[in-house]
């Protein structure tokens, strides 16, 4: 790789490495992106491969290590001392990290401590770049590496590998453009040293680094990602000293075989795919897929169960085959519930037929029903005499007057009402709903363009509410005060509360409204309520003895929430939680994630972008929660291919997997 383009020059850097830099290297440096903390150093003897390294490489290697040890800038000496002391503690340094390939991407610091690390463990390591890390970490690496280099030089001398040599070669390339950065860097270091504060961009994973967990590396030959299990040493490429994935290592043993990266990769993919697909689909699902694929030729379903029919409906909706003709298959006078998941292709007449053919409907759900108009709605109001649950997603044509008429007609029968994506549903319509339908138990309003603070007051009159979902009100138009008043009034009956995307409401909603009022609450969704603070959530859940515990909690993108919040939640609702979403809570550290193990009944967890999530956390959780069936871990780069799982449990979004659209 580009490690070969070594050329002398004079700039001294953070890690005393000289040489021209690639564009990527300078980019990484500018962003403060550096390699992870050094891995713990197992006292394993050097693998035999290393002894085969050539004499020339050895010389180069020695040269570098001397340089590293001798030329540490004095400004960093104190830290060096401190860190060296720290290293004597028995706690192993965290290991897991994301790596890039051995290409021009390496920064000088990387090279340097790679040298170091390799000397110690006598295992060459592909140069690694972590996506986020603090300057502080980097400094630590630099200083420790220099101190270690001297300490271990005697041991390393005999057996230093080619990899070391190659990294020392690369140690050369990265200097020219970095003079300016260097000064910036040192300033940063000082700043971090004083404050100890870490900003997002330089967030330190030191505190949440996994310990003794698996590592992900890239094969130097086929570029495939692979995982090195904790405490094991990977195979080493004899030619350039890079790490080899098990596949390439296998080829290695067969003499004179030129590595063919692509087939190796494909084989690996295939293997993974097979692992996932070894779950044989049920015969019912196979049949449903078959029926859905030739839905046009089906004349009638006959006597199949409603569950199967609903499944078929979902599939053909997804295939966008639900239209005026095929919708007839789902209409029958016996039906009391009907859900159509994509009404885009059903004409107004087709929609009117629903009321004609299914006059006994109690529950009707129409998704994407953009074609439904006043005439049809009027017809529904008059002919669906049993209707008690109505759900309309995207009824863009229905006007205010017809809504008011509908609510007057349906009146006290209506128990559930859901309306989403309509720009014409107005305050007057809502007032009519609240006035004429006092028996509403479930109310779901979302993505209604006109929704604002004035809408809250009428809802206060619906005292029988069990489930209230309000979603995405007009931005900045919803005040904390009115929401507090609403929840204080109706909160005592609520089992489910969703306040999604209330970006401007603040802590009093949690403290003055939810905590004292919502004693029966089981499901809480505050997705995207960005103003809620850790302290408020902590106070809400701390000793919340009036509430028996939540079964569902969604905190997605409540970005301010930190450790204390999650710990309070697991302490309060740990035993009852079945579904938890902590997506995007990047502030969480491993410590609080480990408390997830209190959630014994957890069935589903979305911990995407909780970057401190690692194998150990998941392992504890899998042990503690026997019902855990689905874990979503997008962007959790510390989870490796070997992250714990069990049969029947889905781990979605693991970085090592290929993307399987069936899971989306």
């Amino acid at each position: 790789m580009s490690r070969r383009n070594r050329s002398g020059n004079s700039t001294t850097f953070v890690n005393n490495v000289r040489g021209p830099t690639s564009a990527l290297t300078s980019f990484l440096n500018e962003r403060g992106i550096r390699r992870a903390n050094p891995a713990p150093r197992p006292a394993t003897p050097p693998p035999a491969v290393e002894d085969e390294s050539s004499q020339g490489d050895l010389e180069e290697e020695e040269e570098t290590s001397t340089a590293a040890s001798s030329s540490t800038p004095p400004s960093r000496s104190t830290r060096t001392a401190r860190l060296t002391r720290g290293r004597t503690l028995p706690t192993p340094t965290p290991t897991s990290r994301t790596t890039t390939t051995r290409s021009e991407s390496e920064s000088s610091s990387d090279d340097d401590d790679d040298d170091e690390e390799e000397e110690e463990r006598l295992i060459p390591i592909a140069v690694t770049v972590r996506s986020t890390r603090s300057v502080r970490t980097r400094a630590a690496i630099a200083s420790t590496s220099s101190s270690k280099a001297t300490a271990s030089s005697s041991k390393a001398a005999a057996s230093s590998s080619k990899a070391v040599a190659s990294s020392s070669k690369a140690a050369g390339p990265s200097k020219k453009r970095r003079k300016k950065d260097d000064s910036d860097d040192s300033e940063d270091e000082e700043f971090h040293d004083i404050t100890g504060y870490v900003s997002r961009s330089k967030f330190s994973h030191k505190g949440r680094m996994p310990q003794g967990s698996n590592r992900i590396e890239f094969c130097s030959r086929c570029r495939a990602r692979f995982t090195i299990k904790a405490g094991t040493s990977p195979a080493v490429d004899e030619d350039d000293g890079g790490l080899l994935c098990p596949t390439c290592a296998g080829e290695e043993s067969a003499p004179n075989v030129t590595p063919k990266p692509k087939p190796a990769k494909r084989a690996r993919r295939k293997q993974q795919k097979a692992d996932i697909e070894s779950q044989v689909p049920t015969l019912q699902d196979l049949c449903i897929q078959k029926i859905a694929s030739c839905i046009e030729d089906v004349e009638a379903f006959g006597d199949i169960s409603e569950i199967s029919m609903d499944k078929i409906c979902k599939i053909i909706s997804r295939n966008r085959s639900l239209n005026t003709d095929t919708v007839h298959l789902f209409l029958d006078t016996r039906h009391t519930d009907l859900s159509l998941y994509d009404c885009t292709d059903i004409t107004a007449d087709g929609l009117q037929n629903i009321a004609k053919f299914c006059p006994n409907l109690r529950s009707l759900k129409l998704k994407f029903c953009g074609r439904i108009n006043d005439t049809v709605m009027n017809y529904y109001a008059e002919h669906l005499t049993q209707l008690s649950s109505l759900s309309l997603i995207g009824p863009i044509l229905i006007t205010e007057a017809i809504y008011i008429k509908l609510f007057k007609t349906v009146g006290e029968r209506l128990e559930r009402f859901e309306l989403k994506h309509s720009a014409r549903f107005s305050l007057n319509a809502l007032k009519a709903l609240c006035e004429h339908c006092p028996n509403l138990t479930h109310l779901r309003l979302g993505d209604l363009n006109l929704m604002n603070d004035d809408w809250i007051e009428p809802i206060t009159g619906l005292t029988k509410l069990v489930s209230l979902r309000l979603r995405n009100p007009e931005r900045e138009r919803m005040t904390t005060e009115s929401l507090v008043k609403l929840i204080q009034t109706v909160g005592s009956g609520l089992v489910e509360l969703e306040l999604k995307g209330f970006v401007s409401v603040e802590d009093p909603v949690l403290l003055e409204a939810i905590r004292p009022s919502c004693v029966r609450l089981q499901r809480l969704n505050i997705l995207g309520c960005e103003e809620f603070t850790t302290e408020a959530v902590e106070t809400l859940f701390k000793d919340w003895s009036t509430n028996g515990g939540l079964t569902y909690l969604n905190l997605e993108n409540c970005v301010m929430l930190g450790d204390a919040a999650l710990e309070a939640i697991t302490a309060h609702s740990g035993a009852t939680l079945e579904d938890l979403n902590i997506k995007g809570l990047d502030e969480l550290t491993k410590e609080s994630l480990l408390t997830l193990a209190r959630c014994e009944n957890l069935g589903s967890l979305d911990a995407s972008w909780c970057r401190a999530m690692d194998d150990e956390v998941l392992e504890k959780l899998v042990e503690a929660a026997p019902k855990l069936a689905k874990v979503i871990v997008w962007g959790d780069h510390r989870l490796t291919e070997c992250c714990p799982s069990r049969k029947g449990m889905k781990v979605v979004g693991r970085e090592g997997d290929y993307i399987d659209l069936r899971f989306m």
Partner: protein
């Protein structure tokens, strides 16, 4: 299970039109309904004699279902890619109903 209770290795399934299918007990056990019939605590004819009559399932459908059981048994823990299980469109609905009943 067959070995432990001394039951025969095969069970007989009879379709509504009188065809008999003799299948491995293990394969038939992949159906929740059949499993309950064969392993229920009470002394039902099905569990003692190992013969089950399906009065609502035609031979063509039952054959398909049996094929599916063997297909599933074969690929249950397979690491290689599983071939597609072909269902004729004309039988898909009936097979679905049978599969629904048999909990397969």
């Amino acid at each position: 299970m067959a070995a432990s209770t001394g039951e025969s290795e095969y069970v007989t399934l009879e379709s509504s039109d009188g065809f008999q299918f003799i299948v491995h007990r293990e394969a038939a056990m992949l159906s929740g309904t059949v499993r309950n019939m064969l392993s229920s605590a009470g002394q039902f004819t099905e569990s003692t004699e190992g013969v089950i009559h399906f009065r609502d399932i035609k031979a063509v459908i039952l054959e398909k279902v049996c094929k599916y059981w063997y297909y599933k048994a074969r690929h249950l823990n397979s690491v290689t890619e599983i071939p597609h299980f072909e269902i004729e469109p004309e039988y898909a609905l009936e097979t679905l109903m049978a599969a629904d009943f048999l909990d397969t």
